[in-house]
């Protein structure tokens, strides 16, 4: 359940940003989670509720923005959408795909007081 560690990272980042950007409370967190990232969004949402208790983000809304996986098909030399790791190229059927994006876990924006 490494989502607990990830949720703790969210709170640490919020605390650092609160000092840097001078706010006291977080109402909403917009979090980008790539389809190919090492994160289960539902587990992260559960852990976020747990670890934000008693913090500046207690009761905050977590908006998870899913981004699609991106890859480069080595067989047909074109960019492809990768729904899951290990899936074939949707145009040529090859499995020779290099993942190029969609694995980020990034806080994008906050609504704060």
């Amino acid at each position: 359940m490494h989502e607990m560690s990830l949720a703790e990272s969210v709170v640490e980042i919020l605390q650092e940003e609160a000092r840097r950007q001078a706010f006291a409370r977080v109402r909403t967190v917009w979090l980008e989670v790539g389809a190919l990232s090492h994160c289960d969004p539902e587990a992260l949402a559960f852990c976020f509720d747990v670890v934000t208790r008693g913090s500046l983000a207690e009761g905050a809304r977590l908006e998870i923005l899913r981004t699609p996986g991106q890859g480069w098909c080595l067989a047909c030399s074109r960019p492809v959408v990768v729904a899951r790791r290990g899936d074939p190229c949707d145009s040529c059927g090859s499995y020779q795909i290099q993942v190029t994006g969609g694995d980020a876990m990034r806080i994008q924006e906050l609504e704060v007081d």
């Binding site: 490494h2 980042i13 940003e17 090492h38 905050a60 080595l74 499995y95 020779q96 876990m105 990034r106």
Partner: protein
Amino acid sequence: MCSTCGCGGDDHGQSETEIAPPPHPPHTHGHDHDDAHDPPADPGAAGRRVRVEQELLAKNDRYAAANRQSWEARSILALNLLSSPGSGKTALLVATSRALAHDVKVAVVEGDQQTSLDADRIRATGVAAMQINTGKGCHLDAHQVGHAVESLALADRSLLFIENVGNLVCPAGFDLGEQARVVVLSVTEGDDKPLKYPDAFASADLVVINKIDLLPYVDFNVDRCIAYTRRLRPAVETLCLSATTGDGVAAWLAWLAARRTDLLQARRARLAAELAAVDGALNPPPGATPQP
């Protein structure tokens, strides 16, 4: 407080590191999150919007970069070993420690939920080992490993093995600063395991298929397993061996030696370039303006 990173720890020199897991309150509600989040306390007035753009793993990645820089500066080859529990990571490291005892300094960081049994097995071969007990934690992170390595007092040009917690899911996302990642899979686990646990295999530089002495007794197709692994990481290297019988271990030792040679040659090239620069400064070519 720790002088390296200000983490508040004061026991990094001890032989065992207990990293306390975060407190986890009892579950009092279900896990359905379709509509489980409380709205803001004052939904009427909108709050201020601020941009952040921060990666969740940025802090771990900073510690990992510091580990990597420190190890590369000392020509230490660091490998991160991932696998499910029981695939034979420790058996492979015991065999490796015995084989390399007279050639290379070896050190091992062991990650387990509890006990020092694995570190004890490694130490019995005469190799320095440090056990990290993660408690309820499911993976090693770069900060834990950095401190564990401090207490091992690694020799320059040594070989560092980091045996991660037996788990093919969580450790995959955490860079420890290793030069290469090795995923170990045993033939009793099934040849479709790479597809079932893609994150770990997609991050592997080398996949070791272990316990090949058991192939006659199990339904495991080595070629299929390697083909599945290449779907996830087209350029991955693979080795088949038995840590117990020693079959195939020579190829593993050769792989380690080649990685170490690459690291040492890169170091040698940097030192040669620096030496040439220093020589150039001491003996400028005729006609060059003398530098102060």
